[in-house]
């Protein structure tokens, strides 16, 4: 069991926190007392920041909606489907008909990639739940 120092992924304050790791899994979050920003305090989201990592609701495979029902598909199938549909929509309505939503649960690098994708695609509509 160890306390691994890291930064909270949620909002822009960037509170320091320790992820409690045991057996290779993050099982808890604890405040980082000596961190200059958070000084050993966390908001309720920070205290539970470890929860989404192994949450049972987390997706384990891509899903495509068919007849109103989400079905698991392979990555190849999902990517082909997305590329085909997005191109079709851009062709018909223009690329700024598509909005891109990033996430605070992703890394900065992943969010950057999504931003790049949006720009290449031609849409200015990209946002993030913490307005990154």
């Amino acid at each position: 069991m160890q306390l691994v120092p890291t930064i909270c992924p949620y909002c822009g304050v960037g509170c320091g926190m320790y992820l409690v790791v045991d057996g290779g899994r993050a099982i808890g979050t604890e405040p980082w007392v000596r961190h200059p920003i958070s000084e050993g305090k966390l908001c309720i989201k920070g205290w539970r920041a470890h929860e989404f990592i192994n949450h049972p609701d987390r997706l384990k495979s891509p899903l495509v909606r068919r007849d109103g029902v989400l079905e698991p598909v392979s990555w190849d199938e999902a990517l082909d489907f997305a590329a085909e549909r997005l191109s079709a929509i851009a062709g018909e309505y223009g690329p700024d008909a598509v909005g891109f939503l990033a996430s605070a649960k992703c890394t900065n690098e992943e969010n950057y990639l999504l931003q790049k994708l949006a720009r290449v695609f031609g849409s200015p509509h990209i946002d993030h739940c913490a307005r990154l």
């Binding site: 069991m1 120092p5 320790y18 099982i27 980082w32 050993g40 305090k41």
Partner: protein
């Protein structure tokens, strides 16, 4: 009986405290007295709690100065059932005593080594530290006051004696403790003045403090005495209405009612509060009054907490044993 020690290993003896903490920790691990040592460790930059299972890693163990982290509660949350040796400050050790009473920790599986605050630098104490009446961890198996080149150690149980022997330390010349404890006595006295304000002022003060609350549950999460699996303050329990900030004042009054009889004044609640509500001050103030009535010292007495026990002699009394103050 207090005796002075340092490590027999020359390199270790050059460490602060004469390497005594490291030698004791190593002895515990090598003898298999615990699966791991849970104490404060330094990586050069940060001091944080660490669970050390490898005898080589004990060199990272350090004396935290302040603030304490609440090690007992961390053991309960993340190391339950494992055989652990806690190297903590007095408040950490007192929390172990209270958690054991609540069956949250098995005292047979937790060895305690106390690091006395009376030997520590007095810089940056938390407000609750100023009110603390336990500079020495005499309730631990082994208590240690860390000096520059040596430590003073006192044994309080057979386990503690065994551990000290196993560490194979060399005797060291006595040293005087820094004496900073007396310097803070005046500041400590100042911590008890709030009770004297009149009732209306007190109410306005505390309600204005509670109104700062953002309901982060930090106080509840950090408190060693909040051990309920299903907390009364959680959403859906029907006591505190959800979706409301600041939460209903019942949130704080409920926590107060639940822990005041055994509040250790460890200060973890106040340390965790992002809005800097002086929680430990309120809880400790009420606790001091209750411990006057019940004669109970949490973390020290082995009696069960007063609110889940009673004395046979009380059956004969029918009046309130508390006279309200104006």
């Amino acid at each position: 009986m207090k005796k002075y020690w340092k490590s027999r290993n020359e390199q270790e003896a050059a460490l602060p405290g004469g390497g005594v903490i490291q030698a004791v920790a190593r002895a515990i691990l090598e003898a298999g007295a615990a699966e791991g040592v849970f104490g404060y460790s330094s990586d050069g930059d940060d001091v944080r709690p660490a669970f050390l299972t490898d005898a080589q890693s004990v060199t990272a163990l350090t004396v935290p100065g302040r603030p304490a982290y609440g090690l007992a509660r961390l053991v309960r949350d993340y190391l339950r059932g494992r055989r652990v040796a806690i190297f903590g400050l007095t408040c950490d050790i007192r929390a172990v005593v209270e958690l054991a009473k609540r069956n949250s920790l098995d005292p047979d599986r937790v060895l305690t080594v106390g690091l006395n605050c009376d030997a520590m630098p007095q810089a940056h104490p938390r407000p609750n530290c100023l009110r603390c009446e336990y500079p020495r961890a005499f309730m631990a198996d082994l208590e240690i006051s860390v000096g520059d080149r040596a430590c003073a150690a006192e044994v309080h149980s057979e386990r503690g004696e065994a551990v000290l022997q196993a560490a194979g330390l060399a005797e060291a010349p006595p040293f005087a403790l820094p004496g900073g404890w007396e310097e803070t006595a005046a500041a400590r006295a100042g911590e008890f003045t709030l009770r004297q304000a009149d009732r209306k002022e007190r109410l306005a003060y505390w309600f204005s403090q509670f109104d700062k609350c953002i309901k982060c549950y930090g106080c509840r999460n950090a408190c060693p005495l909040c051990y309920c699996k299903d907390c009364y303050l959680d959403a859906g329990r029907g006591l505190v209405p959800g979706g409301q900030l600041a939460p209903a004042r019942l949130f704080h009054l409920t926590r107060l009612a639940h822990v005041a009889d055994s509040c250790l004044n460890c200060g973890q609640c106040e340390a965790a509060c992002p809005m800097e509500i002086p929680l430990a001050r309120l809880y400790h103030m009420l606790h001091k009054e209750l411990s006057g009535i019940f004669g109970y010292r949490p973390g020290v007495d082995s009696a069960p907490p007063p609110l889940i026990s009673f004395d046979e002699s009380e059956k004969a009394k029918t009046e309130s044993i508390f006279a309200p103050r104006r």
